[in-house]
Assembly symmetry: C2
């Protein structure tokens, strides 16, 4: 199976990765959350080649994560802004950054601290159940298959 065909799988993670799972794409989104909007700014901050950046921005716009907004006419130029769909990716980025802070920071410590404005403390992101409010770990989750794909998604218990 080709990587570019994973959007056709009946798996929400696979479909998500079809839009944001390419190399560089999550770094583009990191910069979007930092307020970067223009092609050359992305290119200089990331150091990615221009045609890879062009491809990633097009995929993000086609996927609905970013929208292309004209910021001037003559010559017509566009910038890229997060849509609500894109903003919904913030928890993914926050958890990934926190994971890097925890396991991969060098001697100087984490490069950025994310302070929660409301309480003034560094954010300690946790996965919590929106219904009961408890912290959630992998073992707390039971998976239920949609009957439409019954038996096709989960591995057979063999070990």
């Amino acid at each position: 199976m080709r990587w570019q065909d994973i959007d056709q799988q009946p798996c929400s993670l696979a479909r998500s990765l079809a839009i944001i799972g390419d190399n560089w794409t999550l770094l583009v989104l990191r910069d979007c959350f930092l307020g970067v909007r223009r092609f050359d700014d992305f290119q200089q901050r990331l150091g990615v080649t221009r045609h890879v950046l062009s491809d990633r921005l097009r995929k993000l716009a086609d996927g609905g994560v970013l929208e292309k907004v004209a910021y001037q006419e003559r010559p017509l130029r566009h910038e890229y802004r997060l849509t609500p769909m894109g903003r919904d990716l913030y928890p993914v980025i926050a958890h990934l950054a926190q994971w890097g802070d925890k396991y991969l920071a060098g001697d100087a410590g984490p490069p950025l601290v994310r302070v929660h404005r409301q309480c003034g403390e560094p954010l300690e992101a946790k996965l919590q159940c929106g219904h009961c409010g408890d912290s959630v770990e992998p073992k707390d989750i039971r998976l239920e298959e949609n009957p439409h794909w019954a038996g096709q998604l989960l591995p057979t218990q063999a070990g």
Copy 2:
């Protein structure tokens, strides 16, 4: 800049992506959380080519996300298990899957429902501040630079 050199950037997200940001890697981890442990099982479920799978498993093991455990001698064979570091990626996967459920599900609806065992309700993952317990959105976060990289990480306010 080459993609394989992003682990040298002083950005926790970039360093995280150096380990888990390649194509296929998060799908390998999805299967790990479903209990898949063996090479051929990953290969058949994912449809990825064997040498890409081999490469990704090696990177995950080198990065500390998976550990290679011998499950038999004669002939010596290993399986791959999540480490605590790997298990800490669960929030990332849960949020990505939920995002796909919300925006990318087809007519049949999301393929899997993640039920929180403790409360019996479908998990609605939310990003919450571990300190005050409030839900957190991008605008609620203020970034503080580590003085060691002062002025080098955040974009200059220009737009």
